[in-house]
Symmetry: C2
Subunit: 344 residues, 2 copies
């Protein structure tokens, strides 16, 4: 057994072994190195990867104010009651996990602290642009290898970045709350396309039935389940509503009502997630999702590394000259970038 | 004069002319093409660029719930009273400009509608990962070329992406609100480093003096003004607190109190921004900020284009084979990416 102290830098091999042995301190340190993209991070991830594939990955996304974090907390507790271990990755700036919410949320979240079957990691979102998606995937890989039965990834549902992170989950929950014109926002963000389960949280609030009806109606119009899983590269998957309608074994996206703050509806939600998991395995859909997840991961790694190389290789003197010429309005960034690109 | 109809696709040249002539409809369409990264976007931006350099660019950032959008609205109105035109770019998912806020905010914002001296553009944040910063800069370029005196960029202050966007502004406001442990968060996000003016909004709330004192104290400890403007490449600029302390002409970051909802303190804030603008010009600091802005723009363009080329050039068959091998756990994404990179 490796004893971690502040003085020693633990070797990558010892960290990997610690993760596989379920040592929390070494798990935390491994994630830190992965987050910081330390030199040995890739080697550690490569060593951990063969041990992945056990965790079911649940993405939880939605607008700020829908109570996602409270729901994640309640869901984790529900999984614990069911005898399953849970890893949580929070990358929502409004989440109490990442430090952005009110005191009440923090208190609720605290109910998870001290349980060895739960591990919470918040992502600082301070990495380089576009690096968040890659790093999130890496942290999920570590938690999966560490043996957690379920890994919940909480993101604020506002942009392509978050949609991509959610779409690399096995099961994606989109959380709404009554009022605030959420149904309109859901359409706007294209977020319904990625939902496997819709959740109307804060269902003790007025207007809940109206919100549920609006979502139900949209699901009927739009067809159920992901029709389009976006992908940068070539593994694009498009399903027309017609093709979906013909498929009797398709997954039915349902709207679940929860009051995460007092636990109402949470065990039903957990069961629905588990039903989706079973469906993924029985329908063969799991293999497709895994392919997409892997292709995304692969591209993210390649892209991050190429970005690093490119920026390191830009000739500094030439760049400085161009910046000055642009500042004098002798040229413009678009023309200058074209010239630069011609030399790469 | 070009008459825009839904039927015709307006040429890039006509759009550029329309922007320079101050035609709102053509301005809106130009921005849409720039946002969508249409084929002719780079050419339009290149044509518009020589007409930029007039606008003073104000970044407004801060955590959700600090009332940034209300403040931006009030600030825009204040600028209008002072006879200046204002372009607004909102990339905050919690902003009423981008559709994420409560009804009251929307009503306040509506006071700007119908004023030809104000143009509001919300960014959908749906572009590719890492593309947001580039696209924001492009939209600012269009608004600058269109002749707006001030361009306000509103971002939620939560991560590196937003910090970078804000750091490409001439003057950056960091907005806080009383309570909620904001002072701690400001440190955490490293956001004080980028503030030219600190604003405590919602200053009619309890705890405002405590928040102001905490911020004042931090500013004294940390030193005033940006000490480090982060940069991917080589134009890194670091100022030690000692060097700053010796510089008598340095900018003094102050903490301003506002109640944006009723306009209290907003004209004083506007005057403070204008004072910063004068200081930038008189101290020669403006040239340095422009260099950083341009270098960032240049790198973002190069990076975006290279990313596009890279993803297009990845051999599909080989990628598919690798994805399958990874899925079978015969290899892992990190090793596979390394092999792929060896061939690029």
């Amino acid at each position: 057994m490796v004893v971690a102290t502040q003085q020693t830098r633990i070797s990558a091999g010892d960290l990997v072994q610690g993760v596989l042995d379920g040592q929390r301190l070494l798990l935390a340190r491994t994630i830190t190195r992965v987050e910081n993209q330390d030199d040995d991070a890739a080697a550690m991830l490569a060593a951990l990867y063969p041990h992945t594939g056990h965790a079911h990955i649940v993405g939880v996304t939605g607008a700020p104010g829908t109570g996602k974090s409270t729901l994640v907390t309640a869901l984790a507790r529900s999984y614990r009651h069911a005898g399953l271990t849970v890893g949580i990755v929070a990358i929502d700036p409004t989440s109490p996990f990442t430090g952005g919410a009110l005191l009440g949320d923090r208190v609720r979240m605290r109910s998870l602290v001290g349980d060895p079957g739960v591990f919470v990691r918040s992502m600082a979102t301070r990495g380089s642009l576009g690096g968040l998606s890659k790093t999130t995937g890496d942290v999920v890989t570590v938690l999966d290898a560490a043996g957690f039965d379920r890994v919940i990834v909480e993101t604020v549902g506002v942009g392509q970045a978050e949609v991509e992170i959610a779409s690399t989950a096995h099961t994606t929950l989109v959380v709404e709350a009554p009022g605030m014109g959420d149904e309109v926002q859901a359409i706007k963000a294209g977020i319904l396309e990625i939902a496997d389960v819709m959740v109307v949280n804060k269902a003790d609030r007025p207007g809940v039935d109206k919100t549920v009806r609006a979502l139900d109606m949209m699901l009927q119009i739009e067809g159920s389940g992901p029709r389009l899983i976006r992908h940068h590269g070539h593994l694009l998957r498009v399903e027309t509503p017609a093709a979906l309608a013909e498929d009797e074994n398709r997954w039915q996206v349902t709207v679940m009502k929860t009051v995460a703050a007092d636990g109402t509806g949470v065990s039903e939600l957990r069961e629905r997630i588990e039903a989706h998991r079973s469906w993924l395995q029985e329908s063969g859909e799991m293999a497709i999702r895994e392919q997409l997840r892997i292709a995304n991961t692969l591209e993210n790694i390649i892209r991050a590394e190429l970005n690093r190389r490119i920026l390191a290789s830009l000739p500094a003197a030439k760049m400085d000259g161009m910046v000055e010429a642009i500042r004098r309005r002798e040229t413009d960034p678009y023309t200058a970038a074209g010239e630069m690109l011609a030399h790469i």
